[in-house]
């Protein structure tokens, strides 16, 4: 099984797994209903149908992975990317979320813009510092003062 097939099989398995989870969740709620006659109006009727569809779709991705042609064309999924950079960016975003709760919009945005711009490759202080200072201030002026949008 080549990498492409493995990825396809993994995708199919995850999708089918999610479908099974939704199926169990929906069936449990339908069975626990007090008035059995009202299953038609149950909020879990549609999720149950959706679960069935997701399982079938998961299988239609999973099964061909075992029979797929080796010469299958390269897909976008095969393009490699830098996952570490994504994790770092996500970490900065999480820190941003936490900082925003304690420090407010302007200081947290200034810190995060500085960190993110530097992380993305900008090394010149004459760009980094004005970016960090002006971005939150200008955005506050535009959104809060100009457009009346509430900021975090």
């Amino acid at each position: 099984m080549n990498n492409l097939k493995k990825r396809q099989a993994a995708d199919g398995a995850v999708v089918a797994g999610l479908g099974v989870w939704l199926l169990i969740h929906s069936v449990t709620h339908l069975l626990n209903m007090k008035a059995k006659a009202s299953w038609i109006m149950s909020p879990y009727l549609f999720p149950l149908i959706l679960a069935g569809a997701v399982i079938i779709l998961g299988l239609t991705i999973l099964i061909p992975a075992f029979a797929a042609d080796d010469r299958k064309e390269t897909t976008d999924q095969e393009k490699h990317g830098n996952s570490l950079r994504v994790f770092i960016l996500l970490a900065i975003s999480i820190v941003y979320d936490i900082l925003m709760r304690f420090a407010g919009f302007i200081p947290s945005t200034a810190a995060v813009v500085l960190a993110m711009t530097a992380f993305l490759g900008e090394r010149r202080l004459k760009i980094l510092i004005p970016m960090a200072v002006f971005t939150p201030v200008v955005l506050t002026l535009i959104f809060k003062v100009g457009l009346g949008v509430r900021l975090p």
């Binding site: 959706l50 996952s83 960016l89």
Partner: protein, 499 residues
């Protein structure tokens, strides 16, 4: 006549024109800068325009939508990177033409035919909205359910190479739309014990995450590369020469409007189809296709801009969005307390006129900005991504927070950004998630209503599927589903070969 009378006051209202202009100028930059998208900008606008008057919000959004779709062609022509997915085909001839020193010519053709396409689509919308609404008034709950299902089936098939993955994306969108308090029984559903989810998944943070933050993560993952902008030398181009392609552009406009009206198909499909037609019907192109043929630019740009009017038709008359942007515009309607659908032309006539007038005014701005400003903003298109991306992240945070003023929504936005990023990496398209998210609630309530109504009749199956409209929709949905199965595809291919 009534429509013309309705839009005329708006077309002379300076405040309305001003808001369209703001949207148009924003659309020019947002559409032209790769990494920013019209969907992202519209999603952000939803939260910003939350407290605005509905007419101002509609005017701005139409400005962004119309000019944003066009300006994707700028970066396609100047740096060979399409600013929007619908401009991918424009790169095929636009960039080679620019490379040969005719960037201005490419821009002029793209501007004029984007203008013609947009006007055509909007005029068709103005004409067809009434008759479609009259037909939609006869729809029953099952018809709505099937129509939405048909939309999701087509979008699943058209947005991904793997049909199943497209449908999985649609199902994911529906799943998220079902989270929250059930509107019929009033009980929480799929909230997994999270108190903040009881009110459901708010559309705006989800859309901002899927289109904004996910895009940032994708760009960072792929590595930051900034394209090289070609120089523009203004040359004299005769209008007579430009309009030589006008008769053929009408065909591309028809293709664009029709494809746009199909739920989920959108600009990329329309421009590919129109380009294919152009290659077939243009016997003596100015240059070979793919090497700078203006006929290719004409086909792509008229079709993808004609999609705008087409996509708005099902959104306004049936509440079924034609593409991701109209799905977002639909959420603007809901936020402002409007209810698109068969009764919209009666109850919200003024807002229909606002959309139409806003679109037509935006077309004028498209022409002005495209001919006068676009050739001068080539430097701005190439804003370094290391500067642009942190600002986009902050804008996503503002957009997600602004609607409900909850930090939880910012966290939801990050969550949807990660979901969108992972799904994209694994080959699952994002557009069906948006449609599923917007349509899921409507599908659920209409399905249960249809089943509930049918359960009281002697023949429930006949009651649900016995009407002609329902049968047609059922046949369409089933054929859209079966048409994508490997067995049917193989059969069709064999038949084509034997023919």
């Amino acid at each position: 006549m009534q429509t013309i009378q309705g839009i005329l006051p708006l077309m002379t209202d300076l405040r309305f024109i001003f808001f369209v202009m703001i949207g148009a100028v924003s659309g020019l930059f947002v559409g032209a800068i790769p990494g920013l998208s019209v969907s992202m900008a519209t999603a952000l606008l939803v939260s910003i325009t939350y407290t605005w008057q509905t007419s101002d919000a509609m005017a701005t959004i139409m400005g962004v939508y119309v000019v944003g779709v066009f300006s994707g062609a700028l970066s396609a022509i100047l740096i060979n990177i399409p600013g929007a997915p619908s401009s991918v085909v424009t790169t095929l001839d636009g960039y080679p033409l620019s490379k040969s020193g005719n960037a201005y010519k490419a821009l002029v053709y793209a501007t004029w035919y984007s203008f013609i396409g947009s006007v055509f689509g909007l005029v068709v919308m103005g004409i067809l909205a009434g008759p479609i609404t009259a037909m939609a008034l006869r729809f029953h709950p099952m018809d709505y359910f099937l129509l939405a299902l048909f939309g999701l089936t087509t979008v699943g098939g058209l947005t991904s190479r793997n049909f199943s993955k497209g449908l999985v994306s649609a199902c994911i969108g529906i799943f998220f739309s079902l989270i929250g308090m059930d509107s019929v029984m009033g009980t929480p559903r799929l909230t997994m014990g999270i108190q903040n989810l009881k009110a459901g998944i708010p559309t705006v943070p989800a859309l901002v995450g899927l289109f904004g933050f996910a895009e940032v993560l994708t760009v960072v993952c792929q590595g930051i590369t900034d394209g090289k902008v070609l120089r523009i030398h203004q040359e004299k181009i005769l209008l007579r020469e430009v309009f030589r392609e006008f008769p053929r552009s009408m065909l591309y406009c028809v293709i664009g409007t029709f494809v746009g009206a199909l739920p989920g198909a959108g600009g990329p499909v329309a421009s590919f189809l129109a380009y294919g037609q152009a290659k077939r019907i243009v016997r003596h192109p100015s240059r070979p296709f793919g090497e700078g043929a203006v006929e290719g630019i004409v086909a792509s740009e008229s079709a993808n801009n004609a999609c705008i009017g087409g996509a708005l038709i099902p959104m306004l008359t049936l509440a079924i969005p034609g593409d991701a942007v109209t799905a977002i515009i639909l959420s603007v309607f809901y936020i402002h307390g409007l209810q698109p659908g068969p009764t919209f032309l009666k109850t919200g006539k003024i807002h229909f006129y606002e959309i139409l007038a806003g679109g037509l005014i935006a077309c004028v701005f498209l022409l002005l900005l495209g001919l006068l400003v676009a050739p001068r903003i080539s430097k701005v298109i190439n804003v370094p991504k290391r500067i642009l991306l942190p600002i986009v992240v902050v804008l996503c945070v503002i957009g997600a927070y602004a609607c409900n003023r909850r930090v939880f929504d910012v966290e939801l936005m990050f969550f949807f950004g990660i979901v969108g990023f992972i799904l994209r990496r694994r080959g699952f398209p994002i557009a069906p998630i948006t449609l599923g998210l917007v349509l899921g609630g409507m599908m659920d309530s209409n399905f249960r209503r249809a089943v509930s109504l049918a359960s009281t009749t002697p023949n429930p199956i006949l009651s649900m599927f016995g009407r002609p409209i329902t049968v047609i929709l059922l046949i369409l949905t089933v054929s859209a589903l079966l048409g994508q199965t490997p067995v049917v595809k193989k059969l069709l291919r064999k038949k084509n070969i034997s023919v």
